[in-house]
Symmetry: D3
């Protein structure tokens, strides 16, 4: 069996459980998402990733909503099904309306298009951008 | 000579000039960026792309600043040098502070990391996300 | 019906069967993976791809285990579900432990993150790397 | 010095020279492109790659022009500067006009856009496509 | 429920219905593909995308068949399951034979390989390509 | 001026200097690479990234050499010029010979090719891989 298997709370070691508890407390949820249960195969990586995500996604100069939409933009560009599903859900929870989602998709689509036009036409960077 | 060449305003056909004029008027700039000068090799594509960009990037449910940051997020993920340079400049013009840029980069980096962790651990989508 | 269909051994032409037999003999398996059955729609491509894979993945300066982990790293970065599944299985067969898999994922995730930080910050290459 | 260095014809081993000679003869050119000179650091890989490229790019059900344009489409999507430059040149040599290039870019741009719209809207595959 | 939902014809607003009708008329089909039903959540984006696709995919310097194969090449490179399925179907409808499909796949695979060899060997662009 | 600017040691705040000092001590180098000088615009991100890289790249179940080669594989796949240059240098420092580099490139190229063949042929995952 080569497919990675998740670690449920019942099986979790104390260090994994501590991360799960922190996620649940911070997010006011009763269970952690599959992402964390799979990553728990690597307790050190689980802790590092969670601490990093927590720091990066905290409100700062950008709001949680904007941060979640940026996360969706990257995930859609990379075509990560899991991440598109989970971060679209998080963005909605943070206040993304249907109209915002539509505009987010439109910008992501347009950026992916013009990125390739710039590549293909071999456009040199304007002096003003340096 | 196989490298695409730009079309400067002096050489521009009336239809290309009309697009250039619209860009300059809407953006309050005296000259268009290289991107448009290269795309002008294809006047129909130039017009279509500009009309689409104009519609997509107009203020709506999302602010121009948020839209520009999403553009940067996609361009960084795709590693499009031209687009990173031009849309970082646009985002700054739209109000992106150094602190916002730092958080944007942090989210983009983290999303690119966790996208791959989700792929590699083959994490199934939680029922709650459907 | 536009979806490609596999070629099973029973239907295989002599040239396809010869490739299948070589795969089975070299890998000590009783059947070939789906990848080869689908690629068999193109017998010339099947043979070329198999000969190339056989040459590239043979033990050399790098061990089969290291080569399989590199294959996984690329497949995870590209988000190729089939390739992640098949090469993770091959890597385990070649000796990849759970601890190695966790470290592999961690490096792949980190590289995908810092690749984007380098892009977004437009970091110039150090003279020492040239 | 960590940057790979090219192998010029004067330094080439007999096996490398044989590949270089085959490239020059088939393409009616007096020197090989940089790509082959760098790949020549790995004589086995050079030969394998050249034999594969020769087989794949030969006229068949698709013309050399169409094949070169497909090569450009992939290279633009991946943002490979070298490959965009070299295969755009090859496509022009095979007959790509400026109008064809403009349409090629337009399709590549549009496909990159709608790929992301399909991802982001999580569109399920129509039964008719299976 | 965070997953986007499609808009069927029965629910469609007049502006969405007008786009659906245009797609059906131009393509001689009785129903539109899922892609358009999901995109219909954003009527402005639906119209813009359809008008762009219609313009870009119309016969011109390149035939519809060649354009569809380029679309497939991009979609395969980006690993967009939906787009691979739908544009492979369109390409077959436009005349792509099994032999053409096999050659298309072979070129796409080879281009993705040599793109990375060019990156990894850091090959400088030949003067002849500028 | 929209291009990010590096922070040299002379300008560095105490928290940035502490990270620079840790990098120099651990790597036995007299100066840090450009990557860290640019990332220093974001002192919190600098520290988080360095702590993560330090943890991920430390010798463990995989050797530093293998980890650096995996880093190169990802960077080549993503076409990150800076990362290809810096991690190829690190890999050589960790013991990568020219023969290993050639095999690394060959595997990365082959994986990028077969990833697309698996996508394009829509190959279903074998039951044995689950």
């Amino acid at each position: 069996m080569s497919k990675p298997q998740p670690i449920d709370e019942a099986q979790a070691s104390p260090e994994v459980r501590a991360v799960f508890d922190d996620i649940k407390a911070l997010r006011h949820v009763e269970d952690v998402n599959n992402f964390w249960k799979y990553l728990a195969r690597d307790p050190v990586g689980l802790k590092r990733t969670w601490e990093s995500v927590k720091e990066v996604m905290a409100p700062g100069a950008l709001s949680p909503l904007v941060k979640e939409m940026i996360y969706v933009a990257v995930s859609v560009t990379n075509n990560c099904d899991y991440c598109i599903a989970s971060h679209t859900a998080s963005a909605r929870k943070a206040g993304m309306t249907e109209a915002m989602f539509a505009e987010l998709m439109a910008v992501v689509g347009m950026a992916n298009e013009t990125n390739r036009l710039a590549n293909g036409y071999r456009v040199p960077i304007d002096a003003a951008f340096d």
